[in-house]
Every structure is written in structure tokens, then in C-alpha cells.
Symmetry: C2
Subunit: 509 residues, 2 copies
């Protein structure tokens, strides 16, 4: 993989200086069009051997291009806020908006390589990280991002020669960093695992470019040209393209039976039972949220459902059990301008709770496979791939200790009609009913199909859907609370079991 980056590529100064002006001009023009189009972001990942010219090349790019449109990001030590969130949160918060370019130093690849080289984990964990990176990049590219991945390379001999030259020169010996020394020790291991990572993550939509780093002219010109060609191709494509590919729609069940039909909509609670059970579950939730094990978890509850199914009321009963300092409720409406300039899931990543906290989403990332699908706000491709992206997103949350609970509050068509009419009659509820609600009602069957597909494709072991029979509000509210309590208790039990096993393992050693 690295062979052709160890053969001593070089370009003489004259050729370099003759080529740079035209390259620069073209890069500037491409950058300008990128900004004008505002249709996709550019993400440049910088990795490779210490001393192979990573920093210098990025510096030069900043000089050649308009640095006002480039954001250079370093990810070294995690801040305490980053540590309290799932690992990918730090990357999501730094993504460049459409029309801009982000250069990521110390990105996900450096993190996994450092960890493996220094023995923090074994191959299995490395491969998990690799798969995670692949999914992230695939998603970014599907959202339109243009990704460049550069590996700056030096052979072992070249690296040693460089260190020796620096060391012998009293004026420059200070430029040898501790990382350089460290890497000269671990060169072979680093390259070994680097090869594994590059091999597995070089994909048509985001290939690696291995750059021999010895000669500054060669490496700068090469990187500049790769960027330019990639940019020009992407700009041309986005100029001509209105909407991407085509995907066959999902088949509907031949017998027209749907999961929602199987719910027993007559389930109900009488007032006395309701009050008793509600208070019991609220007290239970309140206790669980104060349990010290909660400090290692976070809680996310997603509420979706038919209009007038009682999401707001269920959320209020939930909130009533808790200290307002512990939770936040995020109502999801149409995305803002800043949100539209980012990949779809960005606005939800923004709201993911830190450890110990609880976020309630009143509507959620499932909007893409519900309202956006039904109303045609996104292409079929977009909502089709959303299922996978969402499963991946929720898996990341779960891996980081976030407990994810998802509710579909279901009512039947007749109940909805009655509630709509009631709302129009009560003065302070009138604002809860709009023209949109009546329009959505006409698409009842389309929504029914979308809900069925959603549950089929995103109800997973780590984050199952709970369908809530909501014709009776009391029944629904208690079921919601009870489900959340069970999910927290299961997470605690799982953790207890793990810790017990850990203690046992340590003892037996």
C-alpha cells in the first residue's frame, strides 16, 4: 500500500514555481464556486507519519486558497464536555457547513491508530472503529459531502534521515517533537496498523491518497492537484444534478395487514387505577433518575404518533416526575438555515444529553421516514438510507451508555376526529389544531404504511419501538412511564452484571 510512496518522488523548484500560479487560481475559483453553490461541504482528513509534512502542507493550502473559507480543526485531548457525550459528538459539532471546507487533524483515524499502536485495545476494537468510520463517511458522502483522505508517508529510512538531519542542525533540533521520537520507535507497528486501516477504509466515495512526504514541492503540488480535480468534478456534478439516483420503493404487504392493526385499541384504565399507577410510576422514575448509576448513563425518549394522540400530555406527566434541571424537552419543527447546511442528523446530535441528563424529543429524527417521506420533502433515496443511518446513530448512543426509548402513540381515525373537533371548541386548546392537521389526516393511510416500515426497520434490540395504544390517554401515559422505567432498570441491571463479572475477573487474576 505504501510502496510507491517510498521511491523518492521529487519535483524541481522551477517546475513547481511554474505550475503553482495556475493551480492556485483554479483552486480559488473552485473554492468560490463551492461557496456560491452552498450545496456540499468539503472535508479533508490529514493523517500519516509524523514529520512527513502534514502541518506544512495544510499551511500552504491556507496560503494558496482563501483561508476565510477553510476551518482547520484539531482533535487531541477531549474536553470534559466531549467526554460526557458519545465519541462521535466531537466530530459532529465541528462539521463544516455546506459551501465551506473543514480540515481535520487528529481525526477518527488518528484516534484509532494511536489507541491500537499503544496497546490500549486489540484488533477487534480497531476493526469496530474502522467500521464506525466507514459508516460515518458513507453517511457524509450520501449527504453530499466531498471527502479527501490524505496519508502523508515516509519510509523508515527517510524518517530516520530526517530526524538525524534535524538533530545535527543546532538551529532546528528544537523542531523534533516528542511525537517524532515516539514514532521512530513505533514506526513498524504504526505502519502495520496504518496499512490495515487504509486497506479497509479506501472506498470509491472516499478513497485514500498516499502522499510521499520527503519532497515539499512534490507533496504540495500533488495534494493541490488532487484537491482541485476532486473539487472541480464535484462542482460540475452538483451544477448539473437536480436529484440523485433512484431506489425502488418498498413493497407493501400483500394482505394489507399492518402492525398497527394488531394493537388492542380498547385498552383503558379507570380513574382510580390511573391515579394510583401514575403516581407509582412517577415515583419510580424519580428514584431511578436520582440513582447514582444514572451518572454513567443518559436517557433519550422519542415521542412520535398520530396528531392529537396525546404526545404533549404524556410528556407533561413524565416531566412532572422530575426536577426540571435534569431534563430538557426538544420540540422538533422544520430545520433552520444553519441546520439545513449540515447533514440530516446534525441537529439531533446537537441535542444529545450529556451523562446524567435526560432529553425528550417531541418528534425526532424519524421525521425523515414519516413526514418527509409522505410529503415528498426528501427523495426516496434519502429516506430509504435514513433507516440505516438511524440504526447506526442509535447504536452509537447505546454504546456510549445512552438509554434510548421510542414511542409511537397510536389512535384510530375516529378518535382523532373527535379530538380535533373538541380542540376547536375549547378556547385555550384552539391553537393546538391547524389546517396542517386536517391535511395530514387525509394522508392517514400513507402515514400508516410509513409507520409500519419504520417500526420494521428500526425496532432493534438495543432500541426497540414501543407502540402505545393511545385511544385512552390514561392507559397511554402510564404505559409510557412504565416502559421508560423498565428500560432504565434493564440498563442498570446489565451494568451491575458487567461490574460483578469484572470484579470476579480481577479477583481470579
Amino acid at each position: 500500500m505504501f510502496e510507491s510512496a517510498e521511491i523518492g518522488h521529487a519535483i524541481d523548484k522551477d517546475t513547481f514555481e511554474a505550475e503553482v500560479p495556475a493551480l492556485r487560481e483554479a483552486l480559488l475559483e473552485a473554492q468560490f464556486e463551492l461557496q456560491q453553490q452552498k450545496r456540499f461541504p468539503v472535508i479533508v482528513l490529514i493523517n500519516g507519519i509524523e514529520g512527513a509534512g502534514k502541518g506544512e502542507t495544510v499551511k500552504l493550502l491556507n496560503e494558496w486558497m482563501d483561508p476565510r473559507l477553510i476551518e482547520v480543526r484539531t482533535f487531541d485531548q477531549q474536553s470534559d464536555e466531549e467526554l460526557a457525550h458519545p465519541p462521535a459528538w466531537r466530530y459532529w459539532r465541528m462539521l463544516p457547513a455546506k459551501g465551506r471546507m473543514g480540515v481535520f487533524f487528529g481525526n477518527w483515524y488518528s484516534q484509532m491508530l494511536q489507541g491500537r499502536v499503544h496497546g490500549l485495545f486489540k484488533d477487534a476494537v480497531l476493526d469496530q472503529a474502522i467500521a464506525g468510520a466507514e459508516r460515518l463517511e458513507k453517511m457524509l458522502c450520501d449527504e453530499g459531502a466531498l471527502i479527501f483522505k490524505f496519508w502523508f508517508h515516509l519510509s523508515k529510512k527517510q524518517m530516520k534521515a530526517r530526524l538525524k538531519a534535524l538533530q545535527d542542525d543546532p538551529l532546528h533540533s528544537w523542531r523534533i517533537s516528542p511525537l517524532d521520537w515516539q514514532q521512530s520507535q513505533t514506526y513498524d507497528t504504526f505502519v502495520h496498523f496504518g496499512e490495515r486501516v487504509l486497506r479497509r477504509t479506501s472506498r470509491d466515495y472516499a478513497p485514500w491518497h498516499v502522499i510521499e512526504g520527503v519532497d515539499p514541492h512534490y507533496r504540495s503540488l500533488t495534494v493541490g492537484k488532487i484537491l482541485l480535480e476532486g473539487l472541480q468534478a464535484a462542482l460540475k456534478k452538483s451544477r448539473s444534478q437536480s436529484s440523485p439516483g433512484h431506489v425502488a420503493p418498498l413493497p407493501s404487504a400483500v394482505d394489507q395487514m399492518s402492525l398497527l392493526d394488531s394493537l388492542d385499541m380498547s385498552l383503558a384504565l379507570d380513574k382510580a387505577d390511573y391515579e394510583e399507577q401514575l403516581i407509582t410510576e412517577q415515583a419510580r422514575l424519580s428514584g431511578l433518575m436520582r440513582d447514582k448509576r444514572m451518572r454513567k448513563h443518559a436517557l433519550v425518549a422519542v415521542f412520535e404518533g398520530n396528531d392529537a394522540a396525546g404526545k404533549g400530555g404524556a410528556i407533561r406527566r413524565l416531566a412532572a416526575a422530575l426536577d426540571p434541571r435534569q431534563y430538557s424537552i426538544v420540540p422538533i419543527a422544520a430545520p433552520t438555515e444553519d441546520e439545513r447546511a449540515q447533514p440530516y442528523l446534525w441537529r439531533f446530535w446537537r441535542q444529545i444529553p450529556a451523562r446524567g441528563k435526560f432529553t425528550v424529543f417531541d418528534r425526532s429524527w424519524y421525521g425523515r421516514v414519516l413526514v418527509e417521506r409522505v410529503e415528498g420533502f426528501c427523495s426516496t433515496d434519502d429516506w430509504m438510507r435514513a433507516y440505516g443511518e438511524i440504526n447506526d446513530f442509535e447504536e452509537q448512543l447505546s454504546d456510549a451508555g445512552v438509554i434510548v426509548v421510542k414511542f409511537w402513540l397510536a389512535i384510530d381515525k375516529q378518535t382523532q376526529l373527535e379530538r380535533f373537533q373538541q380542540r376547536e371548541d375549547i378556547p385555550f386548546k384552539r391553537f393546538k389544531i391547524t389546517e396542517d392537521d386536517w391535511r395530514n389526516r387525509e394522508k392517514w393511510d400513507l402515514y400508516r404504511t410509513a409507520v409500519g416500515d419504520m417500526v420494521d426497520r428500526t425496532s432493534t434490540e438495543i432500541s426497540p419501538w414501543t407502540l402505545v395504544e393511545a385511544n385512552d390517554k390514561r392507559w397511554a401515559r402510564v404505559k409510557v412511564l412504565r416502559t421508560i422505567n423498565q428500560a432504565i432498570e434493564e440498563a442498570f441491571a446489565k451494568r451491575d452484571k458487567h461490574e460483578k463479572k469484572d470484579r470476579k475477573n480481577r479477583k481470579s487474576k
Copy 2:
């Protein structure tokens, strides 16, 4: 100040239950209109004695109102990201958007009170904090925010009785927090300084409401009614109001002389001098940014100037001296939707560098007193009060160790014309010239006046304006770099002097 909150206010259960439904309905309606109007945010500050029902009241408000439109924020321990920024940054990042309500626990008042009560500082520093809070609130109110400040009170006797009751009750004794015990020790001091804070910060636009906390019915109903009345009044005002008050415009100099006329626009550097001086200043900047004293500072450079004055070129020469991981360049254009939903300075607070970092603003917060003033994008009141807000903003940065350097790049009208024409001729510079540029040119004199006023009102000792004669680009670029270097060196020298003095003081003790 607290007398009438120690007289045992109480409301019986029946009265309470009779009043609540109508209050709730009205609150919900007000909240809904708030969200529909999206014209101002509501900020609720919660302070007072531990155990006086702060948490319980906020919880109740969340039940009465729609919790989806309320954000409850706590500010206790600062995160490391917050510690690396000026103190107010943590509040700015949590401000509710227009149409929403933010409840701030542990806000700026709690911080200053805790500090004073525990002897971290004396009255002088407390009074500084008080003045800072006043300026912040004034600015928020001027931007339209509706602020409620609640002080929940208990007399010493009431507090002791409450602790005793809890302690005697085995089921509830766990509810006594360490804070409660602490405060029963420091009650007198706390109330003493609380009085000072309330006295000085109760203003017509943001008055304090002292609530006796003993009786839950009384305190909830009182808070609810205050909120409702305030909300209704503000909503009514904003319904009827198109634009606020009137301010007399600034007088222009009777002799028409302007500061800009006093610049020697013939200043220039020949190529050889330029190259030598540029390299010298770049090396100096590079060294200063690597100086370990820089870890205690941050650097902000603001670039304003006539169109085609060479801001971009000067910024590129600056960037060329630095490692791209150290700086970011923020181009300021029209605000986005999310930014428009916040006070004017919010989008700049977002971009303030953490310690050790450098942010270059290509155009800046001065837009309000330049383009927004000249083009009428804001009211006269808005840009008139911006001078004060900006001075306050920059003082906060400076107090936190941020070095602020501001440049106005000035060219004369003839030079601008030549550059415009030149840009239209060079293919890859053509994108730099637009219709807007020609239109702005017609307003040359209006801009000249605005710049004069801006410099007169915002060139301060802690953050002076540097007017740069930019007819000669070389001269301008070197002057920019040199000015930044001097500013950093002065900041370092000041710090060294302080530290020397500190060491001396410690020794002599």
C-alpha cells in the same frame, strides 16, 4: 428589602385550587402567543435562600405551562471549555431564542453571591460583578428580552424551622442538602450581600420580585401571576409596536473635517523594504504565538475597511505566519435565522477564541454601526446603543485576557475605483467585485461619517482602533502585522509586571 417577605404570607388550599385553572389557561395562551410572535425571549432568573422553594416552583411552572417551550438551565461547575473563555460566554451560549423561555438557576447572581459570602473576594469585586450584571441585563432588555428576577426568601427563623422539621422526619431527612446546612451557618452574611445585590440591580426594565417561600400555595400563585402579567404586557406591547423610541442623530463636525482626512495616504514601502519587514514581522508573530505566556491569552483581530482596501490580502499575510491549527478566520456576512433569533452580539460570542487561540474577524460586530447604520438595516436606537454594548463586550474580553486589535483599512476614492476596474479585468478576481460594491461606493460620504463616529466612540485604551493607510498594500500589510505584535508584547509585558509584583508581595508577607 426583605421585610414583607417574612410576615408569613399564606393562601389556603381552596383559594389556590380555585384560582389555578384560569391562571394556567392564561399562561398557556400567553406562551403560545410568545412562540407565534417569535419577537422576544423570556429569561427567568431564580435566586434566593436554599429551601425557599426555588426548585419546587420551577417544577410547578413546568407542569402548568408547556414545558416544550421552556429551557431550564443550571450553571454550577464550569466545564473546561467554559473556563477557557470569558466568564459571560457560558450564559451567552445558553440564551433562549426569541419565542422561548429560559429559566436560569445558578446564574450570574448566585455566582457573585457565593463568591462574596465565602470570601473569595471583597466588596469592590462584588460591585464590579453587579455592574456587569446590570449591563448584561440592560443589553438583553434593549434587544427585546423580557426578564423576570425572582428572589425566594425565608426568614432565619423560618429557615431553621424548616430544617428542624425535615430533620425530625426520617422519611424526608435525606432532602436536606449540604447547601442547606451551609446556608444556615451563613444566613446573615448571605442575606446581607443579597440585599446589596438586589438594591443595586432592581431596575425598571428588570425589577426583582421577592417571594416569601414558606407557603407553597402563596409562592406558586404569586410567581405565576407575576409571570402572566409581565408576559401579557410584553405581548401586547410587541403586537402594537413596529419600532421602538427615537434618538436624536449624532451631530456631524461643523467644519466637515474627519479623522480619515488626517491620514497620510502617501505612505508606502518599496519592494525590498516590504519583503524584509514582512518576514521580520511574520517571524516575530510566529514566535509570540508560540510563547508560553500566550496560553493565558487569546487574540482577536478585527478587520474593517473600505471595499477593496485589501483586507483579504492582509489577513492572508497574517495567516502565513502561523500554524493553521492556531487560528480561525471568521467571515461575517448577513446573520442566519438562528442568529437573528438572538441578541446582536450572540453570533460573535459564539466565535470568541479559547485561551491560546487566535480568531480573525473579516468584518465584525462593527457592522451594526457601519453597514447597518448606513443602509438602515437597524433603527437609530439600535446602532446608537451599539457603541456602549461593544465597549462593554470588548472590556469583558480584555478582562479575560483576550487581546483585541482592530483595524480600519482606509483607501481613497480614486484608489478604490482603480482596484474595482482592475478586479473586473482579472478573471480569478472577478468574483471579488459585485453590484453591491458599486452601490456602496455611492454612499462613500455616509460611510466616512460612520467610520469617524465609530472610531470616536469605540477606540478605547483597552482596545484602540488602528487606522491603516492602505493605498499602498505593502505598507498596510506590514503595519497590520507590526501592530498585532506590539499589542501582544504589551500584554505580555503587563502580565510579567503583574507577576513580578505578585511574587514580591508574597515574599514580603
